[in-house]
């Protein structure tokens, strides 16, 4: 009997409590409730954001997913708010803003669609004149800022470290590790701790990821290359010019030798691009890199040292794109076949391949007959070190430990909070460059509540990015006003990022009909 009385009392108490709760919070306004999705790498940031949202009366929770599983759900439009990032390789909004925010494009996870914005991007893509392009991008930036399809975030500084006996070392914004230019005060073998778990291949036409490219670019050269801060300079090509909006001529340097002694000429260049562009050109398989060449239709030989690029529509970023297409030796590839080429690659870069295992390390040796590399990036001549080794070191703590013990000379991708420990070490030099990846929190603009721009703007005002970047990323980050990068073409400095302003956020939420705290 007694227990039944207690039970009854309890139930009554609960009903009363619920009633009490609902009378205090249950005004005519509804409470905004969001689930923030992320993969595990940005879990801390997501929790800090959720904390900010809760502070203004939004019920916020974080879910951690395996990224590719999450991506599929985002693409299906099933999720509300998600931490995403997108990298740019071409130093132009072309490969970041367009895929990310153009209506229906491949990376447009927010489902954002605005005809005026699309039109501005179209103008920027079609124009060849730089002023017109810049103006179009400025317009697009302002529209994007106002519509706020995402909580705009930041770009991370890319922190790299090297032993102090590594000379003339400079990290690049495109995460290239330029081993041609560096020297060693002691010893002749330089070891790089690559942040990757593996590289995919040694065939310049068969991958799309950065680590693979980092290794390949030390064995292969391209028509053009970049300075560390993103300017395009000649490499294999001596010079180039645009004949029209859709036609470019490249003149090739004479006397460049491949590692097997063959001389490089227009045939090799044409072959290289044909392998990428033509379906089934890699021994029956198609290169995954075709899309990176945009509207390039074909590459033709004009004479032994001149090639012509023919485009189907204007493509002002072509020189930037060509940095990523390494020239392969036609005769060698045709003789040994594509699979054998990938196993025993031959290029014309400063180092030649010795041996390696893609999950372990790649060893290469100086190519003594090297033509010298880009005259715009001194020193010119053969590489200064005799041997270079890339080691796969997926764990960041281990990379840092390895550079401290001297096991490796250069490491990439030092986590921000470990950089401080390295700076204090006298044997280590730490440098950072502006990153080319934009990190943000996208919102699903197709469904309530984020189909209302006021709510999206409220979210932008609600997040205290300065505090998050200062702690979670130890200050190694640049706050961005939109998803346009300062290093990219057409960046409008005069747009200031959304301020941290909880009062404003609450006002906007209230205006949209949501309760606040």
């Amino acid at each position: 009997m007694k227990s039944r009385t207690i039970l009854t009392t309890l139930i009554i108490a609960m009903i009363l409590a619920f009633g009490f709760l609902s009378t205090t919070t249950g005004q005519t306004r509804k409470q905004l409730s969001v689930v923030i999705d992320t993969d595990s790498t940005r879990a801390d940031e997501a929790q800090a954001i959720a904390h900010n949202l809760r502070a203004i009366g939004v019920s916020a929770d974080v879910r951690i997913w395996e990224w590719n599983a999450l991506k599929e759900r985002i693409q299906a439009g099933e999720r509300q708010m998600y931490l995403t990032a997108w990298g740019s390789a071409y130093f132009d909004p072309f490969d970041i803003i367009v895929p990310k925010f153009y209506s229906g494009d491949r990376g447009n996870y927010s489902g954002y669609s605005n005809a005026r914005f699309d039109a501005a991007l179209d103008r920027a893509l079609r124009a060849v004149d730089n002023d017109a392009r810049r103006e179009a991008y400025f317009d697009a930036q302002q529209i994007l800022y106002d519509d706020a399809p995402a909580i705009f975030g930041y770009s991370l500084m890319e922190v790299e470290a090297a032993r102090s006996d590594v000379l003339n070392w400079q990290p690049s914004m495109d995460s290239r590790v330029n081993l041609h230019d560096v020297g060693l005060a002691r010893g002749d073998t330089i070891v790089v701790g690559l942040y990757a778990d593996k590289i995919l291949t040694l065939d310049p036409a068969a991958y799309r990821d950065r680590p693979t490219e980092t290794v390949i670019r030390n064995m292969f050269d391209a028509l053009v290359t970049r300075t560390w801060d993103g300017k395009v300079v000649p490499e294999i090509a001596e010079a180039w010019k645009a004949v029209s909006d859709t036609e470019y001529l490249f003149r090739i340097r004479r006397g460049i030798k491949f590692h097997n002694g063959d001389l490089l000429d227009a045939d090799d260049v044409v072959f290289t691009f044909d392998r990428v562009l033509r379906e089934g050109a890699m021994g029956g398989r198609t290169s995954p890199r075709k899309g990176l060449l945009g509207p390039v239709e074909k590459v033709e030989k004009v004479d032994q040292y001149t090639v012509r690029f023919v485009l189907s529509s204007p493509f002002p970023v072509l020189p930037q794109a060509l940095v990523h297409f390494q020239i392969v030796p036609r005769k060698y590839v045709e003789r040994v076949g594509d699979e054998a080429f990938a196993r025993k690659p031959v290029g014309c870069g400063p180092f030649k391949y010795v041996e390696g295992q893609f999950d372990d390390k790649i060893v290469m040796e100086r190519f003594d007959d090297y033509y010298g590399g880009s005259p715009s990036i001194p020193p010119v001549g053969p590489a200064r070190v005799k041997r270079a080794i890339f080691r796969m070191m997926p764990d960041p703590t281990v990379r840092v430990a390895a550079v401290k013990t001297g096991e490796v000379h250069i490491i990439q991708s030092v986590p921000s909070h470990m950089a401080a420990a390295l700076v204090r070490d006298k044997n280590i030099q730490v440098k950072s460059v502006e990153g080319t990846r934009v990190y943000m929190v996208e919102m699903n603009c197709r469904r309530p509540p984020f189909d209302d721009p006021r709510v999206r703007r409220a979210m932008n005002y609600a997040v205290d990015w300065d505090a998050i970047l200062r702690t979670v990323y130890a200050g190694n980050a640049t706050r961005l006003a939109t998803a346009f990068l300062p290093s990219g073409f057409g960046f409008n400095q005069s747009i200031v990022p959304y301020k941290y302003d909880p009062a404003r956020a609450k006002a906007l939420l209230a205006e949209a009909g949501y309760s606040t705290k």
């Binding site: 367009v98 990938a342 401290k404």
Partner: protein, 341 residues
């Protein structure tokens, strides 16, 4: 007609029984991987502009990913029967090459972790059993229980910080230094170095395997110690041991000759079962120590949805698991003739 003894026939039967198992595992892997959301081609294409749906569809078609599921499964099974493991979607090379490259590293690490576990676990277990509830026994119990309860990823990082960074005794990661590799015989570096008599290579390889081996093997060592202790206690109280004691056989002989041999029977079964988990469970240790083994390949392939690589590796794992347990059972019969296969 070849006549087989009963035991031999049993062994043949067990080996033949692995074929349906391998097939079952392959089919399960196929189904599970397809059930996980994510598109391998989309993942491979990364973040870039101008990647059209047509371009991706063409690649999907080239890899046969656009066929209906049952057709894909059928194609896959036909391939397996032709002893063809397929072609990696992401790494654009034959899967067989990838596995051939990675498997020796994984086996080497698992074998060493197991040797470490036995070398540490059995003495502790035996010593505890000989003096149950003594101080020694308590310490052994605590040590081994702590050993089971430390997560490998924590242990590995702490090991690297202490032994590589602070003390500088051991390398942080990798399998062997460049230039020290022994000539390729089996792919197991330590074994190769021994075969070719290359002492510097042996030293270098051992230094590299030290930390990963301990990180991976410590938990198993703890379990080995517990099992050895309890089976040893059982055996020591068994009639025939009491009888031997009563007959005046020296205590040392009782322990070593009679008790230990019998107490090893459960340990052998354990080794068989645990070896499987060492092979299949070392992806975390491999990632931390940059150990170029199959575990890392599989995890990576799962995240990249590289179906052919996952399917093939899962089959390799399953076969190894079954075969090792078969070997354990054979050792069993040698240790204790009463047990039949």
């Amino acid at each position: 007609m070849i006549r087989l003894s009963r035991t031999q026939a049993k062994i043949v039967e067990r080996i033949l029984a692995t074929i349906p198992l391998a097939l079952g595992v392959a089919v399960a892997a196929f189904i599970f991987m397809r059930a996980i959301p994510g598109d391998p081609v989309d993942i491979m294409m990364g973040e870039a502009a101008w990647t059209s749906e047509e371009e991706m569809a063409a690649l999907r078609g080239e890899m046969g990913l656009d066929e209906p599921m049952h057709v894909q499964l059928w194609t896959y099974l036909k391939q397996v029967f032709k002893w063809d493991l397929g072609y990696s979607i992401v790494r654009s090379r034959p899967v067989a090459d990838i596995i051939r490259e990675a498997l020796p590293a994984t086996i080497e690490l698992a074998v060493f972790a197991m040797l470490f576990a036995l070398a540490v676990g059995i003495p502790i277990g035996v010593a505890s059993a000989l003096n149950p509830n003594s101080f020694m026994d308590r310490v052994g119990t605590c040590l081994s229980l702590v050993g089971v309860s430390l997560p490998a990823f924590w242990l590995g990082i702490v090991g690297i910080l202490i032994f590589s960074m602070i003390l500088g005794w051991l390398p942080t990661s990798g399998r062997i230094a460049y230039g020290a590799q022994p000539a390729h015989v089996t792919g197991l570096l330590v074994l190769d170095a021994l075969i070719t008599g290359n002492l510097p290579a042996l030293g270098n390889a051992l230094k590299h395997i030290c930390l990963p081996m301990i990180t991976l093997g410590l938990g198993v060592a703890a379990v080995v110690a517990r099992v050895t202790r309890s089976s040893m206690l059982d055996v020591l109280s068994a009639d025939y041991v009491q009888f031997a004691r009563a007959k005046g056989v020296p205590e040392r002989d009782v322990t070593c000759r009679h008790a230990l041999r019998n107490a090893m029977i459960p340990t052998v079964t354990l080794v068989g079962l645990q070896f499987g988990s060492l092979l299949g469970g070392n992806m975390i240790v491999e990632t931390i120590f940059g150990w170029p083994g199959l575990g890392r390949v599989v995890v990576d392939a799962i995240f990249a949805r590289d179906y052919p690589v996952v399917q093939a590796s899962v089959m390799v794992y399953a076969l190894t698991f079954v075969l090792i347990n078969l070997v354990a059972d054979i050792i069993h019969t040698v240790l204790d003739p009463k047990i039949s296969l």
